[in-house]
Amino acid sequence: MLTKRIIPCLDIKEGRTVKGTNFVDLRDAGDPVELGALYAEQGADELVFLDITATVDNRKTLVNLVREVARHVNIPFTVGGGISSIEDVSALLNAGADKVSINSSAVRRPELIDELALQFGSQCIIVAIDTRFVEGNDWVHTHGGRNITEIQTMAWAKEVESRGAGEILLTSMDADGTKAGFANDLTSRVSAQSSIPIIASGGAGTMEHFYEVFTEGKADAGLAASIFHFKEIEIIELKKYLANKGIPMRIY
């Protein structure tokens, strides 16, 4: 049976793993290569590695870091942050990334999704959607959540799928960093209208939150950062807990 996936996310700034609350107030959470390898060993199903301060300047740093992480892990590995061209994706895949995640650049120029899907295949193109509830609707945000757009989240999710996205990484900015649970209602609505997998992100604080996002939220994967980095939840314990509650999990 296809299992639900537990995905630790490594937010990277200047080569270190960091995590903040509601996208700001960053604090250091350690060496990404070490953390990546540790998570793989502990049973993480995938890794996501987001360069939250991506600029052209640190692109090379990122590529080198991707290479080091990829060398040390034997599970699938996604990289995102500042990706806006076929060349960017090529460089990351060649360094050992299995998938890439694009966000602001896809909003700016949606054709990028079609181009990347055609060039590299849908299976390695994740479109990340940062969403916030404002005045009665869910709106797509860009630039690490700083800018609101005029695009509604449900419509955008549909569009990225039709353009060839292979998965959607849905981050609720309202829930992110709160540890009060995933945005299950929105996640389930996006999941129900999508025929591609949905990775839910933002708000994980307890093991029960993962149970809820897989049941109520109908997510295919649950992503979290700080609770894993700061060892508030051990991946192996989380997976046992979920398996005991009947969620299909990969366990050794």
Binding site: M1, A70, D98
Partner: protein, 195 residues
């Protein structure tokens, strides 16, 4: 031991190279017919689209070479599909080592592509699964599949049962990505290299 990884226009070969690095094996990534033909083991990896991949292999003459190889060949993901007879992905004629079609997943209630860790059930004589349990989790990402057929050496279930692995003579194939399937995938690669 000489290991050749077939170089063609399919992406994501780097993960395969790192997987070999991790178990301390040397390899050549090449589209040179002589190097491929003389290697002790050949790996035919890749992710990509069937018609573009086949067009490239034809241009290089590799579509003629690969089916005639006599040494153990391990094909994964699109590599496995290209060894089948044909693919519904852009109606592509493939190399026909396995005389089976590759079909597109169609399901009203299951998500496509099939992405994630799923369990496979190995047949008794599956030599690549030696030392592993009869049922193990491996990582899949695909929208097309080979139905269960006489060459099937492991099955998986998604929307319906399909071939997770195929085997015929010296040709071994896996639909999943052994190179990123954790310690299970590593063992499968090691078993292949030990043939």
């Amino acid at each position: 031991m000489e290991i050749a990884i077939i170089k063609y226009n399919a992406g994501n070969v780097q993960s395969v190279m790192y997987a070999l690095d991790r178990i301390g094996m040397k390899y050549q990534w090449t589209d040179d017919e002589k190097l491929i033909a003389s290697a002790d083991k050949v790996i035919f990896p890749g992710v990509g689209e069937a018609s573009t991949a086949m067009a490239y292999l034809r241009e290089k003459g590799l579509d003629q070479l690969i089916p005639k190889l006599k040494q153990p060949v391990l094909a994964t993901c699109i590599g496995m599909q290209l060894l089948c007879r044909d693919s519904e992905e852009n109606n592509t004629n493939c190399m026909g080592v396995f005389d089976v079609p590759v079909k597109r997943f169609v399901s009203a209630d299951m998500k496509i592509p099939h992405v994630g860790w799923n369990s496979i059930q190995a047949s008794g004589e599956n030599i690549l699964m030696e030392g592993l349990k009869k049922e193990e989790f491996v990582y899949f990402v695909h929208s097309f599949y080979a139905p269960v057929n006489p060459y099937t050496s492991a099955t998986c279930d998604y929307a319906q049962p399909f071939s997770a692995m195929l085997q015929k003579d010296n040709f071994y194939a896996a639909q999943f990505h052994a190179e990123i399937s954790g310690i299970v995938g590593q063992k499968i690669i090691q078993n292949f290299l030990a043939l």
